[in-house]
């Protein structure tokens, strides 16, 4: 290495490799806290599902399997596109990365649009506990509980998606402007990790809410 420092190298690091690894480990520590954030909700889900198995099965029937399936496929494919964007960024192909990021954003927006339609559908069927809910004769406690978990967990997930869309948009802008090089592209890699994490959460949400009790 020459004594001249790379312009992307922050002052606390010795070289770009150390900086890259620090970014990566730091992001994984953040993702570990995210696992625990969603994990506590999954834990609550588990406890109440063991208490109200019949209500959980009945609640699952109220959800649309097909829309959930389409949304899962959309998210998986969007993950592929952001992986391709990260790859393009690592090869120094900023414009190409920006295009892949735009496709990711389009797919992410489709996911949210379908999610919004589903929420609207629940609202018109009076299935929103606390706001617009008709008590179920067979499951007076279990069904609102199931739906509360549904709205809380998919809602926090959708919130992560909205934040993700903002970050991906910023990365697309930066990639297009040529801010990243083959040597320095860690923010893009971090964005990819975040997007994939959100995908993983949905991989569990889909079967646990839509597919039980079929």
């Amino acid at each position: 290495m020459s004594s001249q420092r790379h312009t992307s190298l922050l002052h606390q690091f010795n070289d770009l490799e150390q900086q890259r690894l620090s970014y990566e480990v730091g992001m994984w520590i953040f993702l570990a806290t995210e696992f625990l954030l969603f994990g506590t909700m999954f834990a609550g889900y588990m406890v109440y599902r063991t208490h109200f198995p019949a209500a959980w099965a009945a609640g699952s029937q109220e959800l649309n399997v097909l829309l959930g399936l389409i949304n899962t496929a959309i998210l998986l494919i969007s993950s592929m596109f952001i992986a391709l964007a990260v790859r393009a960024g690592q090869l120094g192909l900023g414009r190409s990365a920006a295009k892949f990021l735009l496709v990711t954003m389009a797919l992410g927006s489709m996911f949210l649009a379908i999610k919004a339609y589903e929420y609207h559908d629940k609202w018109s069927h009076h299935l929103v506990p606390g706001l617009n809910f008709e008590a179920h004769p067979e499951h007076p406690f279990g069904l609102p509980l199931f739906l509360s978990f549904y709205f809380t967990m998919t809602g926090v997930h959708a919130f992560h998606m909205i934040i993700g869309l903002g970050i991906v948009g910023l990365m697309a802008f930066w990639c297009w402007r040529g801010r990243f090089t083959a040597e320095h592209n860690s923010p893009l890699v971090m964005t990819g990790l975040y997007w994939h994490f959100v995908d993983i959460v949905w991989i569990y949400l889909y079967p646990l809410f839509y597919l039980i009790g079929r």
Partner: protein
Amino acid sequence: MGAHIASQKTYFTVTVALLMLLVVKVGLAYVHIGIWSLVLTLTVATAKALLVILYFMHVRWSTRLVWAVASVGVVWLLVMFALMMSDYLTRGDVHYMLNQPPVSHTVNER
């Protein structure tokens, strides 16, 4: 050494595998095999999550330190699940034991 760059083909292959596993998962939901339905569905979901973590998130090609950090979140989560469910699932048993003569060997028979 720099970051590993996977081929586009790798990403396509993983995506196809993920979509196939998704179809398997949905199919499983309509096969009624009791508790095994849940076990199998969660197994397939975990296989998908592992594919995403190992290939899309590059953990397969990452350093040991990343392996360790990526694992701890999941490990602590499983510890929390195990301890919490060992409490919630056995509350009835404890109540039962407290109201029985101390030599009973039939604790699990309610």
